[in-house]
Symmetry: C2
Subunit: 351 residues, 2 copies
């Protein structure tokens, strides 16, 4: 995959269509602005799709899974084996992401980006592993730049295939014991915040493990001296195979001119890397929700995204992106289906 080529395919969203969508909404039978953020979301979606009467169906949540060398340092409440167990759970349809994807009529695409151990995955799990998990990011780079590029290419290729298959919207999902440590390191690197500001409890570690996790992140930042100016090197040093894959999902969707709904903290870290690589990708992003994970706010602020939901979620998997999806669907339907003052014979304001 040539990253430059992928980045060069990302264009601007269509400002003229945005204007047409705004005009269309203002003619609908409701007081101006009374649908609040639904209206702004409708306008942004129209500018991405390049048409006012767009559809957000079909869509897919891409759930990338991988293990993390840094998990050996006791930064998670769960053992690394849970990554593989959860991939089996995804394949069996029993996880939160499956339940919510069924509800929201999204396809679920499960990808092994580098789960540790030997596995007999069911056929629904795509085998794109770059290794048996990353190296320990506190001891050296998590992966090589070549691996980061390969993971980005995998994410982008999956999106391209789904788009060829008709998908019109992507949602990010992930699973990886230890990945909130990688997410915190990336968030710190790309936002300039300190380790303590962006490192949270992840799956729910207690105080001692949180202190250790902050120390690990601080140590990794000191060791690698990452920079937002060298996004690929930073991603390779501090990321994960699934996080680099999500960078590819974001860049791939932007290249295909379709919106991406980000899930929470890990997705935010991936989006920071993606936008550092390709600033134009930012216009294709929606933040599904504000995660309860410390550090997500810093990522959202840096990305300039206001989350759609704020429900105290901190699960990942794509759950918060899926839960926000009906709001985007509503925006699409309001534009397509709602009557205008003229067509419905409704009077406008008196004044």
């Amino acid at each position: 995959m040539h990253l430059d080529e992928l980045v060069s395919r990302i264009g601007e969203v269509d400002a003229r269509v945005a204007e047409a969508a705004r005009k269309e909404i203002d003619g609908k039978t409701k007081p101006q602005g009374s649908l609040g953020r639904i209206e702004a979301i409708a306008v942004r979606l129209a500018s991405i799709y390049g048409e006012v009467a767009f559809d957000t169906m079909p869509r897919a949540v891409v759930v990338l899974a991988a293990d993390h060398g840094v998990a050996r340092r006791g930064v998670s409440a769960y053992p690394s084996a849970v990554t593989a167990q959860m991939v089996h759970n995804f394949a069996a349809g029993g996880a939160a992401v499956n339940v919510l994807a069924r509800q929201m009529a999204a396809r679920t695409v499960i990808v092994d980006m580098g789960v540790a151990g030997e596995h007999r995955w069911p056929p629904s799990v795509r085998r794109c592993a770059l290794g048996a998990g990353t190296e320990d990011l506190a001891a050296g780079p998590a992966m090589s730049e070549a691996q980061a590029l390969e993971a980005i290419g995998t994410g982008a290729a999956i999106v391209a295939e789904l788009v060829r298959d008709g998908c019109r919207l992507m949602l990010t999902g992930e699973m990886g014991i230890g990945n909130s440590t990688a997410g915190a390191a990336l968030t710190a690197a790309f936002t300039g915040r300190g380790a303590a500001e962006v490192t949270g409890r992840g799956t729910g570690v207690a105080d001692a493990a949180l202190a250790r996790k902050i120390e690990v992140v601080a140590h990794a930042l000191a060791r690698h001296a990452p920079s937002a100016e060298r996004p690929l090197a930073t991603l390779a040093a501090l990321g994960g195979f699934e996080i680099a894959g999500l960078v590819g999902v974001v860049l791939g969707a932007a290249a295909e001119r379709i919106p991406v709904v980000l899930d929470g903290f890990i997705a935010g870290a991936a989006a920071l890397a993606a936008v550092a690589l390709a600033p134009r990708a930012r216009a294709f992003l929606f933040a599904g929700h504000r995660s309860a994970e410390r550090g997500h706010d810093a990522a959202l602020a840096s990305l300039g995204l206001e989350p759609i939901l704020d429900l105290g979620l901190r699960l990942g998997e794509g759950s918060g992106a899926l839960l926000a999806l009906p709001v985007l669907d509503a925006a699409a339907r309001i534009l397509r289906e709602m009557a205008s003052f003229a067509s419905a014979g409704v009077s406008g304001p008196s004044g």
Copy 2:
């Protein structure tokens, strides 16, 4: 309708089922608490339905429409004729509530509770008018207590019929030019706030009309000296036919042991009256969203409800209740469909 009888039918929610639902959720394949408010919503819904494996389908949004004598004082940006025009728009399926009800698979029940003028409604509009709109609440009581009781009875009877027909969840909707003035007066009366604190721009009045609206509300409060201790008299003095009908929807749903998702500011005012009449009804309420209308926060605080969405909506019709519905559906599905650690063979926390 005997109000006492309706109120006496409202029972307590089931604390033991709540506990069972909490235990069920804690066994699901996710870190404890990681689904945030979805978990608390699931527990509350279970306690209302009295079962852990409940369904939120089928459901209906009850859209009550009526006119307001106070509209003659220039408190709205739109003429009263818009109430009837919008009822026709609802019947034709072109309004925001129709679009969102289709998306969320909710039935739309449209009710003329007292729209001014002579109308040839299509058959889908229920004719329950108590008059050609209320009297001017700033000049005298908006309606008699007998009318308020009748409207409550109508709302409760519609719910009872829908429940017999299989509905398992109600959403409130309304339309009535001038009703944000009535809603502000009721919110002030039931929360003890001043007119200026709870009176907003409604459909979007400019500064001069807003000042007039605040004066009208203050005048009505001074004239009627309403009290939360005499809720029926307060509702009659300051309410609207559709607002009193919504009080009936809330009480009727609570009596039938099904949840009610409130829309915004007008629904909040109705809920304040309902809870003053029957404090047990509170446990059956969900606030769909935080309205942009000034005064809604006061109602939510008094009701002790945290809104599910916060999208700057101020349309009414039921739009904000419908948009929140997928979150309740998700709570139901998580309880019913998600795998447990035991069933999926996933390890628990290491510690």
